[in-house]
Symmetry: C2
Subunit: 369 residues, 2 copies
């Protein structure tokens, strides 16, 4: 497809925008009404740097929905079908947000900054509108808004060394999905051990958009001894690692059970939690679809498809392959599928690609690696 | 800026996508999680075709939020600060949707299909989440969802002739912003006299996405005698005509009074209308900002800026120019500004462009033409 893009004031630049341009960004996507870099001209190099080294990503588009005020915790619990009573300040919890029918609306990380302040660090979708409506309709003593916060991710096995050099040895004791508020050369940020890869790493939630270029530069300098380079969330690594792409792997009827999020749900969450009754009913009836991997029986490297592919068992349509990639580590074409719940790992299927080619494949559990 | 774009299954294709590729589309933007064509390689030709002839646009990204059921009308009134009691089936009303603080969330067209069925034809933003939350939180007997509806716009002074050839002479009696449900070669659609230009025209709300290519072809054929061509919403014509771009001309604090939408508000709308109390208070206090045009004192043709520019009166910052364009009809550079309410037409200002160039300008009322 033609892939030129028209800039617009409707789509916002990140505080790291100029720095990514200087670093040689070659393409973008749009995510939460912002540009997000999607490549720096060397896809394989960028992939291996994530797997073996350290890479830095402009993920400012991972916007925050802030719940602030006396009833912030109450609103968080109403929005999230996971019991929050044991949550501590400094923890980030991955969880689904659902509508009243149990349909997935987003899969944010909920960060507890204080008893009266939470952030939902969101996937692509205006969850701000949802949270605002619920807060106002329930007359809760809470303010809902989008603060000036712009995450920068440092990912890969060597990310820890860069962070230690910048923040000191105590970074090593920061647990997975834990965060703390700190500063770097006076730049206010929240340092979290998290990120949209399974290669380990950190996210620096910049709290002053005027200092994006400075933060980018500090990370690039500290990372230089480890051969850090610019990159972006990897469509390939995330498929290998079985990470969910909300909006890419889901549709308007997807519930969290269908996409392997059941371990982030507590069915005994309070009854006024949105969607909890529906989720109990879905759980009792058993979900109708499930997410599985597929290994495709095809030698050549297939490119990414920007549309879903039909999946057949024999002649029967059983669902869709929502994304696919060539895996450099498996040296196979692999994909993520949302299919009929009766399918099991080991089943052979036929995938009909958007160009009508039909390819055999075998279903498997996720993640691949 | 680099302007390459990475396709993703997270961003949906329109039913007209293949047809626009065949017609030579050269660039896209993302709008409501969908691709929207933004050019076919001849910007001036496309502009003049809209002004003097007839052009066809893939605006499938103008998604519908459907309110269906016994209390659909009640929900519509709760969401819209304009009195709907006199609204008739077959009417479309442009109006603001606001949050409880009176801040603008979207500027849709509300279409009344039946006493128990309404569509909000939305600008870029997930208003679906807002409407769903309000409906569920107020326990209304209404279903909120996104139907399979994909508008195709036919715009320009000769659009009427194409429509008459396709639908017959009675199209001439269809009033501005009126619509009717009809078929074209068996393709179900809603034919509306509307569109995001001031050049006159129609929007065909396709109701079966499987038939997009067919509908595109029918329009292209019927339009051939009138030299129809592919185009897209025109950033230039919309500035000349003073049409609002939600998200482009607005920010997180914009209320409808600031962007000339006061005539679409009824302050005596029912008290349970969201935002109505806040809007009454804003009206009583007087809005703090206003939208004005600016004619820039500069000879050469300036390109579009994808960021806002600062506006100064003397040395005092007084707001921002949210978009600008070279006007082929005025042969001047013009822009739309969101500025301090004390500014009046005739005031001279200095605009500081994103590249730091400073240009003098004179404020004026909108629209320009």
């Amino acid at each position: 497809m033609p892939a030129h893009f028209t800039p617009s004031p409707r789509i916002r630049r990140s505080p790291y925008f100029d720095a990514t341009v200087a670093a040689g960004v070659t393409s973008f996507t749009v995510y939460n009404h912002m540009y997000m870099p999607t490549g720096f001209g060397d896809p394989m190099g960028e992939y291996w740097r994530l797997i073996r080294g350290v890479t830095m990503w402009d993920v400012a588009c991972q916007r925050q929905v802030e719940l602030a005020g006396e009833e912030a915790g109450r609103l968080a619990q109403i929005l999230c079908p996971r019991k929050l009573e044991g949550m501590k300040v400094g923890q980030g919890w991955y969880l689904p947000v659902c509508d009243h029918q149990g349909i997935l609306l987003n899969d944010p990380i909920l960060l507890k900054l204080a008893e009266d302040r939470y952030w939902l660090s969101i996937a692509d979708g205006d969850l701000l509108l949802w949270a605002k409506a619920v807060a106002a309709e329930r007359s809760l003593a809470v303010t809902v808004g989008e603060p000036d916060v712009s995450p920068l991710a440092v990912q890969g096995p060597k990310a820890i060394e860069v962070m230690v050099d910048l923040f000191g040895d105590e970074v090593r004791s920061l647990g997975y999905f834990r965060f703390r508020e700190t500063k770097l050369d006076g730049i206010p940020l929240l340092l979290a051990r998290s990120g949209w890869s399974k290669q380990g790493g950190f996210e620096l939630y910049l709290r002053d958009s005027a200092r994006g270029a400075e933060l980018w530069q500090l990370i690039a300098q500290a990372g230089a001894p480890y051969d850090i380079g610019p990159g972006c969330p990897s469509g390939t690594e995330r498929v290998e690692s079985g990470l969910l792409s909300y909006g890419g792997d889901t549709d308007a009827k997807t519930n969290p059970f269908e996409v392997r999020l059941e371990r982030f749900i507590d069915l005994d969450a309070p009854d006024d939690t949105i969607g909890i009754r529906a989720l109990r009913a879905i759980d009792a009836a058993g979900p109708k679809r499930r997410q599985l991997g597929v290994v495709l029986d095809q030698g050549g490297r297939m490119g990414l498809h920007d549309r879903h592919s039909q999946v057949f068992k024999g002649d029967t349509p059983v669902g869709r392959m929502t994304t696919n990639t060539w895996s450099p580590r498996m040296e196979r074409n692999i994909g993520i599928c949302l299919v009929w719940a009766g399918l099991v790992p080991g089943d052979t299927v036929t995938v009909e690609l958007p160009d009508a080619r039909r390819i055999e494949g075998e279903m498997c559990e996720l993640p691949f690696l």
